[in-house]
């Protein structure tokens, strides 16, 4: 760790020795490296797209499953299975679902044409859609998040719902005043974990789009990988890693700080 921090102050390829340059890497990154800025923007956009949608989607599915649907175990497995698939396999599978050769023939666009969207977008070949395509890949594996919500929902005591019903609360108010407050610790956990995970997005960006087209999917970790393991600027890459860490740390601490306002813990003493 200390070595990495130290390294970010040096200019080195680890073969020909090093030279101390202080904060120059950080200054370069922030002022004269448009690619780095691009990667930060992309990573932010990706996270901003994935985290809210993943939260709502998986909560919705979990609530449906929790309403005593027939074959609950089967559906739970169905939703969970995609998240067992390795990142590489997910990326490759979706490349072909988006269809690299003729996008109109891809399964996704064929599905869209049923709803009258024809021709569909160019997905991983279109500068505007590539990042969204990668978001879809990530969202396909929300099964894990969904399972955690399901477990959280099942631990809400039914007596709370009964009490609310007696007080005349309809389904919507029960959801808003019982389910959501009781679930805030689970929501908090999932949002933090998903946030940290999506800031480190790498595999999809490398395999499905290689950062392209025209750097539309260049993410911070992909940039770090390129700088270190393709161009051997280990010092520079360390600086990228530390900025990434700084951003993640900042938002995680922010979320923890804010949690006292909106997260409700059963066992917590009220001031």
């Amino acid at each position: 760790m200390a070595f990495s921090l130290g390294l970010s102050f040096f200019k080195t390829d680890l073969l020909t020795g090093k030279k101390f340059i202080g904060f120059e890497h950080y200054a370069d990154l922030l002022t004269s490296d448009p690619l780095f800025v691009r990667s930060v923007v992309n990573t932010f956009l990706f996270t901003l797209g994935v985290v809210p949608v993943a939260t709502i989607l998986s909560l919705l599915v979990a609530m449906l499953l929790n309403r005593g649907v027939w074959f609950q175990g089967v559906w739970r497995t169905v939703y969970y299975i995609p998240s067992l698939v390795s990142g590489v396999a997910v990326a490759i599978l979706w490349i072909w679902l988006f269809a690299p050769v003729e996008p109109t023939k891809g399964l996704v666009n064929q599905g869209l044409s049923i709803f009258g969207i024809d021709p569909g977008p160019g997905w991983i070949y279109s500068e505007d859609w590539a990042l969204i395509a990668i978001m879809i890949m990530s969202l396909w594996s929300v099964g894990q998040t969904m399972l955690i919500y399901l477990a959280g929902l099942q631990s809400v005591p039914t007596t709370f719902y009964e009490a609310a019903s007696i007080d005349g609360a309809g389904p919507l108010r029960r959801f808003w005043h019982v389910t959501i407050p009781m679930l805030t610790p689970t929501i908090f956990f999932n949002v933090v974990i998903n946030f940290i995970g999506s800031f480190q997005i790498f595999t999809f960006a490398l395999i499905a789009t290689e950062g392209g087209p025209n750097n539309a999917t260049l993410t911070m970790v992909l940039y770090l990988y390129r700088k270190s393991f393709e161009q051997f600027h280990f010092g520079y890459a360390s600086a990228v890693g530390w900025i990434l860490f700084g951003i993640i740390m900042f938002f995680t601490v922010f979320m923890f700080r804010s949690s006292s306002v909106w997260v409700y813990y059963e066992g917590e003493l009220r001031r």
């Binding site: 299975i81 067992l84 990142g87 590489v88 599978l93 072909w96 396909w140 894990q144």
Partner: protein, 301 residues
């Protein structure tokens, strides 16, 4: 007419009650059906990609890009599996991945449980501080330690060997150690004392008492470790440079290659399918442990 309406009031009341009951039941029934349809529709969207993968992997080449898609191929082409399997060294990739994953599981289970046992049961100087140190490594971000680790392994001459991928598991993982320690703490001390009466030493207690009792959590640790190493991409990507050492994840990447197809899509799908099969099979055998693992790390977190 009159006679009927003047009949015993109990009968009509009963009839009305029965009627409203069937009404309630049918409303509940319709609700259940609607719920099932909603869950199944979204579930279908989740499964279609996988189904497409399976069906494409056995398709003849002229059926791959049909509109609408041919879900059940006209004839099953099993050569889609054997051809790429033999053309690229896939058996080799597979073997490498198995070796790395199995060794990692062994290393992780043995070392983490030993460390956890020490933290849970033995008393030694600095135990508290060392445990805190262990927990603090949990907060280290991956991509910060990545480069120093690479430099270290490079210096040891381990780059382009599989060692960096599994040797570290023999030095225990922080999260797994923490998980195991918490569980071991909940095993009653009387068990140890009884064993000690019978003349068991620390190691015998660990091997004969603690380990068998910790099986559920050990299962979670083993499965998480296996799945992680089987699916890992970043590690092999940076450490393995020679094709002979490649894991299945890197093999798939070769197969996918450039945007310009070198390999037909049905071959890519068949190998992708084969690559995810072991984890799938493991999941269906040990579903309990998977779910348990998620719930342990999720709800208590």
């Amino acid at each position: 007419m009159r006679a009927i309406s003047a009949g015993p009031p109990t009968r009509t009341a009963l009839g009305r009650a029965r009627k409203s009951q069937t009404y309630v039941i049918s409303r509940v029934f319709i609700g259940k059906i609607a719920l099932l349809i909603a869950v199944a529709t979204v579930g279908l969207v989740f499964l279609v990609p996988l189904f497409w993968m399976v069906s494409t992997s056995v398709k003849p080449s002229d059926q791959v890009w049909l509109i609408p898609p041919a879900w059940i191929p006209r004839k099953f082409v099993w050569e889609n599996f054997s051809e790429p399997w033999n053309n690229l060294p896939f058996p080799r990739f597979y073997l490498n991945t198995i070796i790395i994953s199995v060794l990692s599981v062994v290393g992780m289970v043995v070392s983490s449980s030993m460390v956890a046992y020490a933290f849970a049961r033995l008393r030694f100087r600095g135990r508290g501080i060392m445990f805190l140190l262990l927990l603090s490594t949990l907060m280290l971000p991956n991509h910060i330690t990545l480069i120093p680790q690479y430099v270290l392994f490079n210096w040891m001459g381990w780059v382009n060997t599989t060692y960096p991928l599994w040797v570290p598991t023999f030095f225990a993982g922080a999260f797994n150690t923490f998980l195991l320690r918490q569980y071991m703490m909940s095993i009653p001390n009387e068990m140890d004392e009884a064993a000690r009466m019978d003349g068991a030493g620390y190691f015998a207690i660990y091997a004969r008492i603690i380990m068998p009792l910790s099986k559920p959590v050990l299962g979670v640790v083993a499965i998480n470790t296996f799945t992680f190493h089987w699916n890992d991409f970043f590690g092999p990507l940076i450490y393995l440079t020679e094709q002979n050492n490649f894991t299945i994840a890197l093999g798939l990447r070769i197969l996918q290659g450039d945007y310009f197809q070198e390999f037909p899509v049905q071959h890519i799908m068949s190998m992708t399918l084969i690559s995810i099969l072991p984890v799938m099979v493991l999941f269906f055998i040990a579903q309990r442990y998977f779910i348990q693992g998620i719930v342990i790390s999720g709800v208590k977190g």
